[in-house]
Structure formats: structure tokens, C-alpha cells
């Protein structure tokens, strides 16, 4: 505007008005700029924050899939228990924050009011456990062991218990069908950790705070398939947590069922026989240490020889996986993991290491052939073999004269393998190794899959060790400082060894090669590795990755994903050699070291092959090894500090075979009594309603064999069947007192019938899972 003021408007005022105008415009500009910054540039972030502000999730947990044995018997499933929960949002709306209601509830449940209040308070930095660390919008469980009477009291007087619910909920149950405990194979669950939630946040299967995660065994290996997907309903809420509306709702998807190749009956027999063998070993006197054998741990694997599928896998000592359900108590945790526990959580079949002893000898046999030696020989089986001043004796100083490799296996002659291995060591340059040494004996062990995982579908398998040149070098580098410090030329035995190791531990010495040739020295293997090798010898040379999982079946039974056997290698042995080894191993069972254990075995119908091993461990009693196979199965058993191979493990393995094939003590085959004369081929059927067709399991298949009337017991209804509420509890064995106090009587409703949540079925838990266990 250019109009000139009519009255005395001074230029000073005009300038100042312009200044004001400029100021005003810049202020408004600032606001506009800031608004643009917040809404357009940073808008996404604030939108996220806003949605976090007003959306609350309520989670319906997915029912975890069952773990079934090969015939459909549930090894792990879910049981319905009455869970009483409190809704915090409802309680907080009350004038006294729900105190009166909780006190009343405590009265009904027979709990202390303080305990109930502690359970519903929210965890934070200042609040110690017990407290609730889930979402405050999630119903908070007060107890999962409510009786139907308590639940009815709460439900019928709902107006007295606002915000309290008593609902049947699915909880994990390890049913131990027919007393098959299978603990280490199944594994266990525990609540998801914050770290895992964070880690899985942006993956396709994020965790919910209420999730339970498989921690070991199959529960861990197949966690993703078993877990399913929890249902989430998102509610829009206001500042005070009042629900404004339902934003989104995903229904829960139950987890898939895992069918395993485990046969619960064979599993039970294996567990029983292993435990019996260990008990028996403890009665035997050990001449070397002048005390009874300790038999502190043991394992047995029953494998399908043609597929690598695991039919049974037992590890001793064992435990009750139900101890983990609903949160493990501090006391139980200590008994399972404490120093005095002997680590029952370990699966000795895949995680237990020991020197193989003579069961290793098939490897030097194959190695000798690879190195160009003939199978026939003859090779001198002298009572001892000496290198320099050092004398390596044959087992019990026996001598057999000139024999073939096959006969050397049969009689388990050490000196034959000492000589061969030492010769090869010399050929490879002896103390001055050639650059391209053949190392046939070590190479062959690697080709047999030792020193590596077998690839079994169980977590944390250990690799064992082939003490070859590279390992010696690495081990020496890692330990030389200690050895050189500790070692003394004229000290104690240990000090002398350390001194020697310090000087030349990096080299493969003559003595090393000799010890190694009979599976001693630094050689370490797992039972599952030996089972894989002997199954390969049985099946014509294929090293299968052992599998426990056989198929994953969707909850409605419509989608079946089979887990096909996979091989991880072939034995480096010609068909001819393999046939010769096979023949020799048959000789072991018929006229060799294991023959006395297979007296009366129907060898013509079921050709038995075996190898015994008695591994020496410095400072400990001998490890018993027994490796066997037939056309369809390979069974490997080992007992730490248990005595000789055939002595300690022999009867147990024979009994497992008897059970599998229905062979009686006198060698008669009764097909009716055979548990599994040929491996289970078909998969169990999961019906579209989610129920599973499964045969009935007798109370204790291991005992059926002992009693001569198995038919009477076979008709016993399946354990936990709600149709039979009168089922009497069995008398708990004294070893089970620990568990007995933890879970007194527990109502077990639901089960295969399902829906019968409020029906009370009294049952003594020991009767359910009372596997004979020893607690050392």
C-alpha cells in the first residue's frame, strides 16, 4: 500500500510496524516448519509410537503339537488343567485394587492372601519374584492345579469374583506311555527369555511373552513345527486401559504333531534293560580297582539299520521331564543340574564321550585293506607287541598265532592291529613324517564319520575326536604351556606324562599309533556314532544321519511332511571287504567274544552280528561297549565304569533283541510276542478333528516279557484314559519319593477323549511315569 498517512505518522513508527510484521511472519513460519518436521519428516515414527500407546494385545496360546511314537502313541502331549487366572485390568478398576477379591480367592484356593497378591503384581526393577512379567492385559495365572470343586466355587459365584476366571487350559504332559520315559530325547520346555523375544522380533515367527520354548531334545529341535502360532487379539484402549474396540484378531493355530521313529515299547525295554544292566554291574567286583563297578552312566541306541531311524534311545541317569511343566522348582533344578546330580539332562547317546576300545576295530580293519594289506593275512596274534622298550600287551595276554583280520576281529586280538598300525606309522615316516603321509588309519576313521556330528536331529550333539596329526598339533599348542610347567622328568606318573607331552606332544608317536589302533588313547566317540557305523556295515555301507523325527503331521492330519533318511557318507570299503567284516562280526556272535551271550540265539533265522569292547580310561574303571546288528536293527550299548563289553552290556542287548523279535530264552521265536520284528513302515493316522489313532500300550512292556501272560496286561487301558477313572494308582517305587512330593495327586482330565475338563480322575503320578531310575 502506498498511501501516505494523513496525520503526523512518523517514519519511525512505519519502520517499526514493518519490523513487527516481519517478526510475526517469521514466528508463523517457524510453526509451519516445525509442524512439517514433526508430521511429514518424523511422522512415521510418531505414528508407531501412537499405535504402541493405544493398542494392547491379548494372547491366546496355541496348543503345542504332540510328539508321537512310530505307532501314534503320545510321548508328549497336552493335558487340560484347571487354571485360575486374574484379570489385572478388572482388579485395578476396583476401589481397593481388588484386594478383597484376591483375599477371598486365596481362601477358596487354600493359599495365603500374600502369595496371591504377589502373583498378580507386575514385575519391575524393584519388585522381586514372584511377580508377573507378562502383559498387564493378559489374564495372570494364579494356580494351574485347581480342583474342579474350587473351579465350580469360583464360577458359580462369579459376582463374588469379578475379574477371576477358572478355565481349563492345555499344559504339556510327558505321558510316559508304558513307562517309557524318553526324557533326554523329548527334551523340555521353559518360558521364553527377553533376549529370545528381541532376537525373534523381526523374523517370520516372533515369540510372545507367554510362549514356552523347547530347550533340549525334540522339543527344541522341532520347536518351530510344534509351537504353532498363538492367537492375538488387538484391542484399542484408552489412557486408563479401557477397551475402545477390537482392532484385529488372529485365531490361534495349533502346532503340528511330530511322529518319531521311537517305539515306546522298545524304548521302555531299552531303558529298563540299561538300568538293569547297570544295577547288575554294580554288584560285580572289579579286579583292577578292587571294588565294585560304579556303572555311573550308560546309554543304549536301537537303530533301524537300513534308514538310520532311531527306534529307542535311552540315557541313564534320567529324570522326569514333567518336572519342567508349569515352571521348575529351585529344588528340582538343583537335582537336575547340580554338581552332585551326575547330569541326568545329558543325553549320553549323543553327548556322552568315551574311548571305544575294541568296538573301534572295524575301522583299523578297513584301514588296513585301504593301505593294501590283505584280509586273509596271516597276521601274528602274539601275547604282546613291543616298540623300543615299551611293551603293549594283548588283552589278558592271550595269543592265537597267525590269523586273518576276520579272526582278529572275532577274538579281538590287539597285537594284530598294533603291528599293522605301527607298520603304517613307520611307512608314513615314523618320527620324521613324510609330507604327504597316507595316514590310512586316521583317514579311514574320518571316512567312517568319526570326529564329526552324525547329523542326528537332536540338539548339541558332540563330535568326538580322531587323534590324528593335526589334532595332536592343535592340542599341543593349546596345552604346552601347562604341560611344560607341570611336567617333571622323574616325578609322578602324571608329571612324567606331562613332561613327555611337553617335549614331543605335538608329534604322532609310535605309541600313539599303537594305542589308537584299538580305540584307546585320545580317541573319543559317542554311542550314536558307533550305532551309525554298525548300521552302515549292516546295510551295505551307507552312513545315514540318524533321525528321531519321522514325519510332521498338521493338526488336522491333512498335511504330512515326511522326514526322509539322509546319508552323510559311504564306508570306504569294497563290497567284498564289507562282506568279510560282516562275516567276522557274525563270528564274534557265534564263536568269538560275544558268543557266550548269544547262546541259543536263532542265528539261522536272525543272523546276529556283534563286537565287544572294553575301553580303558586312566583313573577309572573300564567302559563297557557292545555293538550289534541284525539285518534290520543295530543296537549299541555302553556303560561307563561298567566292566567288559559282553559282561556288562551283553545280557541287556540280548534281551532287547529278544523283545524286538519275540525270541525266548531258549531261542524259540514267538511272533506274537515280538514287539517290532521289522521296522514300523506306516505313519500313524491323525484324524481331521486332531485326535490320533494309536494302539493301546500295556503298563510296562519290559515286565510283560518277564511274566508269561502278556495278553492279560495288553488289555489294560491306556494310561490316563478318562474312561476309566477307577484306575488304581500303582505303588510308587522308593526312588521316586522326590517327584512324589512335588506333584502330589493331580487331577488329570482331558486326555485323548478331551473335553472332560471338570471330570476328576485321581491318579498317582508315580504310576504314570514310574520308570525305574536310580539316583546315585
Amino acid at each position: 500500500m502506498t498511501n501516505i498517512p494523513e496525520t503526523g505518522r512518523s517514519p519511525r513508527v512505519q519502520i517499526r510496524l514493518v519490523v513487527i510484521q516481519v517478526l510475526v511472519i517469521s514466528l508463523l513460519g517457524t510453526l509451519g516448519g516445525r509442524l512439517w518436521y514433526l508430521q511429514i519428516r518424523e511422522g512415521d515414527q510418531y505414528a508407531k509410537e501412537a499405535s504402541g500407546n493405544h493398542v494392547q494385545k491379548v494372547v491366546q496360546p496355541a496348543v503345542r503339537g504332540s510328539i508321537l511314537d512310530a505307532r501314534g502313541v503320545a510321548l508328549a502331549d497336552n493335558e487340560t488343567r484347571l487354571v485360575v487366572s486374574a484379570s489385572r485390568t478388572d482388579l485395578m478398576k476396583m476401589k481397593d485394587d481388588g484386594k478383597a477379591v484376591l483375599t477371598k480367592l486365596a481362601g477358596v484356593l487354600g493359599m495365603k492372601p500374600e502369595d496371591v497378591e504377589q502373583k498378580v503384581r507386575l514385575c519391575n526393577a524393584e519388585t522381586p519374584q514372584p511377580c508377573w512379567n507378562g502383559s498387564p492385559y493378559q489374564p495372570i495365572p494364579i494356580t494351574d492345579e485347581a480342583t474342579p470343586k474350587q473351579a465350580l466355587q469360583i464360577r458359580e459365584r462369579a459376582e463374588d469374583f469379578p475379574g477371576i476366571t477358572a478355565e481349563p487350559q492345555a499344559l504339556r504332559r510327558y505321558a510316559s506311555p508304558g513307562k517309557a520315559n524318553t526324557a533326554q530325547v523329548l527334551g523340555y520346555l521353559s518360558p521364553v527369555t527377553d533376549e529370545e523375544i528381541q532376537k525373534a522380533q523381526d523374523t517370520s515367527s516372533p515369540y510372545l511373552r507367554s510362549d514356552m520354548v523347547g530347550r533340549s531334545g525334540l522339543e527344541r529341535q522341532y520347536d518351530k513345527q510344534l509351537r504353532g502360532k498363538a492367537g492375538v487379539t488387538r484391542y484399542e484402549v484408552d489412557k486408563l486401559g479401557r477397551v475402545l474396540g477390537e482392532a484385529e484378531s488372529d485365531p490361534a493355530q495349533p502346532g503340528a504333531n511330530l511322529v518319531t521313529s521311537i517305539d515306546s515299547r522298545v524304548q521302555r525295554v531299552a531303558e529298563y534293560e540299561l538300568n538293569e544292566a547297570m544295577k547288575e554291574a554294580r554288584k560285580q567286583h572289579d579286579r583292577n580297582t578292587n571294588r565294585n563297578y560304579e556303572a555311573d552312566s550308560g546309554a543304549v541306541v536301537v537303530m533301524e539299520a537300513k534308514t538310520g531311524r532311531v527306534v529307542a534311545m535311552a540315557s541313564n541317569p534320567t529324570y522326569d521331564p514333567n518336572a519342567w511343566v508349569g515352571g521348575i522348582s529351585a529344588k528340582d533344578y538343583a537335582t537336575l543340574t547340580g554338581e552332585k546330580s551326575n547330569y541326568p539332562l545329558l543325553n549320553r547317546a549323543t553327548q556322552g564321550l568315551s574311548a571305544p576300545g575294541s568296538v573301534f576295530k572295524v575301522i583299523p580293519t578297513a584301514a588296513a585293506i585301504q593301505a593294501g594289506y590283505s584280509f586273509e593275512g596271516p597276521y601274528e596274534c602274539s601275547s604282546s607287541y613291543s616298540i623300543g622298550g615299551q611293551v603293549f600287551k594283548n588283552f589278558e595276554s592271550q595269543s592265537f598265532g597267525g590269523i586273518s583280520l576276520g579272526r582278529a576281529l572275532e577274538v579281538s586280538c590287539d597285537t594284530v592291529f598294533y603291528r599293522l598300525s605301527h607298520e603304517e606309522w613307520k611307512r608314513d615316516g615314523g618320527n620324521k613324517p613324510k609330507k604327504n603321509a597316507h595316514d590310512w588309519f586316521y583317514k579311514t576313521a574320518h571316512q567312517f564319520g568319526l570326529g564329526e556330528e552324525t547329523g542326528i536331529d537332536l540338539p548339541n550333539e558332540v563330535t568326538g575326536r580322531v587323534p590324528d596329526r593335526q589334532w595332536k598339533k592343535d592340542y599341543w599348542t593349546a596345552n604346552k604351556d601347562d604341560w611344560c610347567k607341570y611336567g617333571k622328568k622323574d616325578g609322578s606318573y602324571a608329571e612324567k606324562i606331562a613332561f613327555e607331552n611337553c617335549l614331543e606332544g605335538n608329534r604322532l608317536r609310535a605309541g600313539d599309533s599303537v594305542n589308537y589302533s584299538i580305540g584307546q588313547g585320545d580317541t573319543l566317540v559317542t554311542p550314536i556314532q558307533m550305532a551309525t557305523i554298525y548300521a552302515a556295515i549292516s546295510n551295505g555301507g551307507t552312513l545315514y544321519n540318524p533321525t528321531v523325527g519321522k514325519a510332521v503331521i498338521s493338526p488336522d492330519g491333512k498335511t504330512v511332511t515326511e522326514i526322509e533318511p539322509k546319508a552323510h557318507g559311504k564306508l570306504p570299503t569294497s563290497k567284498k571287504t564289507l562282506a568279510q567284516i560282516d562275516e567276522a562280526l557274525e563270528g564274534v556272535a557265534t564263536r568269538g567274544t560275544a558268543a557266550w551271550r548269544f547262546g541259543g540265539w536263532p542265528q539261522d533265522e536272525i543272523p546276529m552280528h556283534a563286537k565287544t569292547g572294553t575301553a580303558e580310561v586312566h583313573g577309572k574303571q573300564t567302559t563297557s561297549w557292545f555293538t550289534t546288528y541284525t539285518e534290520d536293527y543295530a543296537i549299541v550299548m555302553t556303560i561307563s565304569q561298567g566292566g567288559t563289553g559282553s559282561g556288562a552290556s551283553g545280557p541287556a542287548v540280548r534281551n532287547i533283541y529278544n523283545a524286538l523279535y519275540g525270541v525266548s530264552e531258549d531261542g524259540e521265536i514267538d511272533k506274537k510276542k515280538a514287539l517290532l520284528p521289522t521296522p514300523q513302515k506306516t505313519l500313524p493316522k491323525v484324524r481331521t478333528d486332531g485326535t490320533i489313532k494309536s494302539p493301546k500300550v500295556s503298563k510296562d512292556p519290559a515286565k510283560d516279557r518277564a511274566t508269561s501272560s502278556p495278553d492279560a496286561q495288553a488289555t489294560t487301558p491306556q494310561d490316563g484314559d478318562p474312561a476309566d477313572p477307577q484306575q488304581p494308582g500303582t505303588v510308587p517305587s522308593p526312588e521316586n519319593t522326590n517327584r512324589e512330593t512335588r506333584r502330589r495327586e493331580r487331577r488329570r482330565a482331558g486326555g485323548p477323549g478331551g473335553g472332560a475338563a471338570l471330570r476328576r480322575t485321581r491318579h498317582r503320578s508315580a504310576g504314570r511315569t514310574g520308570t525305574r531310575r536310580t539316583t546315585s
Binding site: 510475526v24 509442524l35 509410537e49 500407546n53
Partner: protein, 400 residues
């Protein structure tokens, strides 16, 4: 009111005409009105009523079960405000000028009344007079106007009479004294936000009056020193200090002191370009922002109408301020200039402070957003100010 318009004689402005022709005739009342200001103010008031409605329809603890409680009252306030504006226009610039001492006295009387037991405390400030029927009055809003009018009257008297080109020191001192008396009373309430607005008004008024630069800079210096003194002596209540602390560090205690600012910023930020749609803001519906119908009303616009809505409000206020600046520059007497400039300073600062605090660039103080925030006294005061602007514009002959 329309009857009033018809019966009113616009003395000395053009020939008498009848009916609509008269209304739209050159120099007629309607033609002389500043329509951009009027329409912007109406638009802001109506928009404000929707935002207030959105913020309060679910707040049963406030709206006494009637979702339209605040909407209807906002309309009522707007209607009264319009009437006040028309009243000011009809009375005319010169008549109003003569009534300044009376208005000033009345407003000072009212704020003194607040200090008596008749006054009541809302949100920590003892600055309200409860009236029957659920209404309440905040006299400090009217003091803002009377300070402008009073100072303008004193400062412009001798300049408009042609005696002096600028107000002399004595006049400036008198004018300052006139402003300081009610400011001290308001400070005692304590209503710090209003005092801040009044300081800015005094500055704007002095600036526009042509008072010596020494006064301007001296006052700015004194203001700064005073602020520091107030801080040091500890006249401020803890909540006031906390607000500043939360402004300096918004992450500080997001559930406590910083809660308002955080939630306000989340609400606005989540709006994006076009917002979540009126009545569909989750922050608003979930009542996460406190005082959302009054001091934080802008967050409703930010969340539900997005950048478009927020910019519209700033734009409409910009139109009013722009036109007010033009009126200040175009008027022939210094009195009109000073009054208009005072109103500009008032509106501009209050707008900047109110929106600025929701955007996190200003500390939180309890100041309403002109026309938009719910609140009768504020609504009446800003509409009265519009009336004053209109009357200043109308007394000036139309430019050729």
C-alpha cells in the same frame, strides 16, 4: 442484534440508503468491514468447535454425559464473541476511546475480585471467578485488552493532538505504570502465561507508539533480568519449574512432567499429511493428551486433520495477523496504530506459544489458542479485539 444494525446511524459516513442496497453501498458498514479477518475468525471458531467436540465427546468425566456439551458451549461462546465484536463496531472507534478509563477500571476491579474469596483455582492458577450456571470468568483475558487500550490512549494523546512527534518519557512512564499494576496482580494469581503475554503486549505497544529506542531495549533488558530474578528468588511454583525442565529435556520422566509434551508430540506427529480423519485420532479418542479441549486443542487438529489441518489453522491466524498489521499501518491516528499493533503482539505471541508448546519448541504454559481453544473469557476477549480492529479500520476513510 440485526435490529441494532438497522437502527444504527453510521453518522458522517455517506448518504442514507434503504435495505440491502444500503448494506452493500460504498462506504456502508458491510463494505467497510475487514472481511478476511472476520471470515478467518469465524472459520477458526467453527473449526475449533469441531476439535473441542472431538476431544471431549468421550470424556464423560468432563462433559457430564452429554457429548455435545462442549460443542454447544463453544458455539455459544462464539455467538457472544460475535455480538461483542458487533457491539464494538457499532460503538465505533472514537466512542470506545472515550470509554477506555472506564473499561480499564472495570478490568482491574475484576482481577482484584479474583484475589478475594470469590476467585477460584483451576489448574494451579487462582485466576477465575465462578459464575452461577457453571460458567466462569477469567478476567486476565480482558486485562490484556484494557492494557492495550489504556496504554494506547496515554501514548497517543499528545501525538494525535499534534503536540509531539513521539511520546515523551513521562508519557511512557505513565503508560508503563498503567500496565504494571494489573500485571502484578495477575502474577500473584499466579498466571505466568498471561503475564508473559502482557509483557509482549507492552513491548508491541511501545514499539508501535514510536517511543524512544532506549525504552524498547531497556525494557527487553529489564524483562530478561526480571525473568532471571524470578527464577532465582523462587517465586515460581515447582510445577512451573518442572514445565521448563521438561521443555529443556522432553525425555525426562515421560510418565510425569514430560507426559503432556510427549503425548502432544506423538499425537501431532502421528497425524502425517492428512491426519487420521476427524473423530478418528487414536491419541484423541484414547484421551492420552491432557487439557486437549483447551490448551492442547491444536493436537487434535494435528492428529485428526494432519499437516493440512494444522497448516490451515496457522494460515487462518496468519491472515488475521497480516490484516491486523495492515490496519495498524493504514490507520490515520497513532491511537489506532498502537491498538492494532498491541493486538498483533498479543495474538502472535499467544499463537506461537500455544502451538509452539504442542510442537515442543516452547515450554508449556496455560495459554489458549485464539478462537480455537475452548474457553469463554478467551473467546470473548479475542472477538472483542476483532471488533476493535474492525472499528479502527472503519473510522479511516476508504482509500481511493
Amino acid at each position: 442484534m440485526t435490529g441494532g444494525v438497522n437502527s444504527f446511524q453510521v453518522s458522517g459516513y455517506g448518504p442514507e440508503r434503504a435495505g440491502w442496497t444500503r448494506v452493500f453501498a460504498r462506504d456502508s458498514l458491510a463494505r467497510r468491514l475487514d472481511w478476511p479477518i472476520l471470515l478467518s475468525a469465524i472459520a477458526l471458531s467453527l473449526l475449533g468447535s469441531l476439535l473441542v467436540y472431538s476431544a471431549t465427546r468421550n470424556r464423560t468425566e468432563l462433559n457430564q454425559g452429554d457429548p455435545y456439551y462442549f460443542l454447544v458451549r463453544h458455539w455459544l461462546n462464539t455467538g457472544i464473541g460475535l455480538a461483542l465484536m458487533i457491539g464494538a463496531v457499532l460503538l465505533g472507534h472514537r466512542v470506545l476511546r472515550t470509554a477506555v478509563p472506564l473499561l480499564y477500571g472495570a478490568s482491574v476491579f475484576l482481577i482484584l475480585l479474583v484475589l478475594t474469596p470469590l476467585g477460584s483455582t483451576i489448574n494451579g492458577a487462582h485466576s477465575w471467578i465462578k459464575l452461577p450456571g457453571g460458567f466462569s470468568l477469567q478476567p486476565s483475558e480482558f486485562v490484556k485488552i484494557t492494557i492495550i487500550l489504556g496504554m494506547a490512549m496515554l501514548l497517543a494523546a499528545r501525538v494525535d493532538a499534534g503536540d509531539k512527534p513521539y511520546p515523551d518519557h513521562r508519557t511512557v512512564l505513565q503508560a508503563l505504570g498503567l500496565a504494571v499494576v494489573p500485571m502484578i496482580i495477575v502474577m500473584l494469581m499466579p498466571d505466568l502465561g498471561s503475564v508473559m503475554v502482557m509483557v509482549i503486549i507492552v513491548l508491541g505497544v511501545l514499539l508501535a507508539s514510536g517511543a524512544s529506542n532506549r525504552w524498547i531495549f531497556g525494557l527487553i533488558g529489564a524483562g530478561a533480568a526480571g525473568a532471571i530474578a524470578v527464577w532465582q528468588i523462587g517465586i515460581l511454583d515447582e510445577y512451573q519449574i518442572n514445565r521448563f525442565a521438561a521443555f529443556a529435556n522432553p525425555e525426562l520422566d515421560p510418565a510425569g512432567v514430560g507426559y503432556n509434551t510427549n503425548q502432544a508430540r506423538i499425537a501431532i506427529g502421528s497425524g502425517g499429511l492428512t491426519g487420521s480423519g476427524l473423530f478418528h485420532g487414536s491419541q484423541t479418542t484414547g484421551q492420552f493428551v491432557p487439557e486437549q479441549q483447551t490448551d492442547f486443542v491444536f493436537t487434535v487438529a494435528g492428529e485428526e486433520l494432519g499437516f493440512v489441518g494444522g497448516a490451515l489453522i496457522i494460515g487462518l491466524l496468519g491472515i488475521i495477523l497480516w490484516r491486523a498489521c495492515r490496519i495498524a499501518r493504514d490507520t490515520t491516528d497513532l491511537y489506532g496504530t498502537v491498538v492494532a499493533a498491541g493486538i498483533v503482539a498479543w495474538f502472535a505471541f499467544q499463537t506461537f506459544e500455544n502451538i509452539g508448546m504442542t510442537l515442543g519448541i516452547m515450554p508449556v504454559t496455560g495459554l489458549p489458542l485464539p478462537f480455537v481453544s475452548y474457553g469463554g473469557s478467551s473467546m470473548f476477549a479475542v472477538w472483542l479485539a476483532i471488533g476493535l480492529l474492525q472499528s479502527i479500520r472503519m473510522q479511516r476513510p476508504m482509500s481511493a
